[in-house]
Amino acid sequence: MSTLDQLQEILHRDYGIARDALHPDAALETLGLDSLSVLELMFKIEDGFAVKITEDTPTDLVTVGDVVRYIDGLLTRTAAGSAHRPAGIAVSP
């Protein structure tokens, strides 16, 4: 399954967006995904692609294709062992 296929699956399942609307050139905003949705999507990308996102979410994710390229970058870095960090944060009880 390609990164695009997998992302389409997440966006269809969790955001109710029709699969055929999720082509690489589709703008996130017109799909009903505002900036907060994109932030939330990062959690789903972490789970769906088994990656850890340690940096701030980039602000230049405009289309579905942009997100695919962003995920591919994360996958490459994860494979190189540079994007990993321990799960959770330390919170005093």
Partner: protein, 415 residues
């Protein structure tokens, strides 16, 4: 200049006994109770795991992308407001929407979102706080969503005065119409407090009713000698308030006339009610309605079933109505739908409007052991019908001390 008259042209609810005004009133008139034993983990560890929940699944009404932005309290609000707008047969597309606004009362807003956030942070020890947390939890979310839904460009206000929040919201909304600041207002309240942390906080305050071991649904016993406290409920209730001539011009069905609103504040203690404070709120409402005590044919009491409130409210009613107090039916419908906190005033206002319109009086249930301090006609023997009511009063009193009283009047100019 006389204030402009205000018509009530739409009613909508999502409530423990039904998600329509028809279902709600039928259940109330039959004396049914919406109080149940909590079956979810939320009730775990509670000494008295009972509440009046609502049967409602937001996924059936809101598409997934929108649902993630709506705390349960906003889902309730949008649903009940839509029912009120439909009931009023309003199409805001053809209305002057800059002359229309929203007033919502809620005590604790998006409590489930807040709780989920703390659960994520402290129980899961995760940093994955939902990006929508702030807009879901903020107290004015429900009002904002209603305004966005109908494109209402007038005032969009949220009142938070604990248990009188939505009575205040309705009263203040009516005043905006009376004073010519608006022509139509969607007004009401919403509350979704059945989160574990909220239930525990109320339990810690020692104000919740003990569960009746034989029949949990009869645990809330307003005005009874054996009353033990309130039962929390959830839901929303909304009305459409409309300038009188505007309503007549579009041939709207007028349920009743909004007649009066009185508000006073307690100044001796943050939670302790006073006879004077409550009585003055009733007097202020009568004055604002230009009505005499003898005009009031039914009082929907605040009647929380706490030891203190019910005795004080009874004394306050006597202080205003004198000997006539004994002949006015006074009921606490909280015995059936529980205490909806910030939504309580609006729900009970809707019930009061329907009682007036239909000539019926819902009962106070579970009152079989009289309290000498509570000696009015609480309609404990069951609902009454075929009653002629010219005007009716709805009382809402609150922790924090904001007493709000609303009065509705039958529309004598309609046949």
């Amino acid at each position: 200049m006389n204030p402009r008259r205000v018509a009530i042209t739409g009613l909508g609810v999502v409530a423990p006994l039904g998600n329509s005004v028809g279902a709600l009133m039928a259940a109330l008139m039959a004396g049914q109770s919406g109080v149940r034993r909590l079956t979810t983990p939320r009730g775990d560890g509670l000494r008295s795991p009972i509440a009046a929940g609502v049967t409602f699944d937001g996924a059936g009404f809101f598409a997934a992308p929108r649902l993630r932005m709506l705390d349960r309290v906003s889902q309730f609000a949008l649903f009940a407001a839509a029912a009120a707008v439909a009931d009023a047969r309003l199409d805001f597309a053809v209305e002057a929407r800059h002359r229309c606004g929203v007033c919502v009362g809620t005590s604790i807003g998006g409590a489930e979102t807040t709780e989920q956030g703390y659960h994520t942070l402290y129980a899961e020890r995760s940093d994955r706080i939902q990006p929508y947390s702030v807009i879901n939890a903020m107290n004015n979310a429900a009002a904002s969503w209603i305004g966005l839904e109908y494109g209402l460009e007038g005032a969009n206000l949220t009142y938070s005065t604990a248990c009188s929040s939505s009575a205040v919201a309705i009263g203040e909304a009516a005043r905006r119409i009376q004073s010519n600041d608006a022509d139509m207002m969607i007004a009401g309240g919403a509350e979704a407090p059945l989160a574990a942390g909220v239930l525990r906080a109320w339990e810690a305050m020692r104000t919740l009713a003990s569960e009746d071991p034989r029949d949990p649904s009869s645990s809330c016993r307003p005005f009874a000698k054996n009353r033990t406290g309130l039962v929390l409920g959830e839901g929303a209730a909304f009305v459409v308030l409309e300038e009188w001539d505007h309503a007549r011009a579009r041939d709207a069905t007028i349920h009743a006339e909004f007649a009066g609103y009185g508000i006073t504040s307690e100044v001796t203690h943050i939670t302790r009610p006073s006879v004077d404070g409550q009585a003055r709120a009733m007097a202020a409402a009568l004055r604002s309605a230009n009505l005499q005590p003898a005009d009031i044919g039914y009082i929907n009491a605040h009647g929380t079933a706490t030891l203190q409130n019910d005795a004080v409210e009874t004394a306050a009613i006597k202080a205003i109505f004198g000997a006539a107090a004994y002949s006015i039916p006074v009921s606490s419908t909280k015995s059936m739908h529980g205490h909806l906190l910030g939504a309580a005033g609006a729900l009970e206002f809707v019930i009061t409007v329907l009682a007036l319109e239909r000539g019926i009086v819902p009962p106070t249930m579970h009152l079989s052991v009289p309290d000498p301090e509570c000696d009015l006609d609480y309609v404990s023997g069951g609902a009454r019908s075929d009653v002629t009511l010219r005007a009716a009063m709805s009382n809402s009193f609150a922790f924090g001390g904001t007493n709000a009283v609303l009065i509705v009047r039958a529309d004598s100019t309609m046949t």
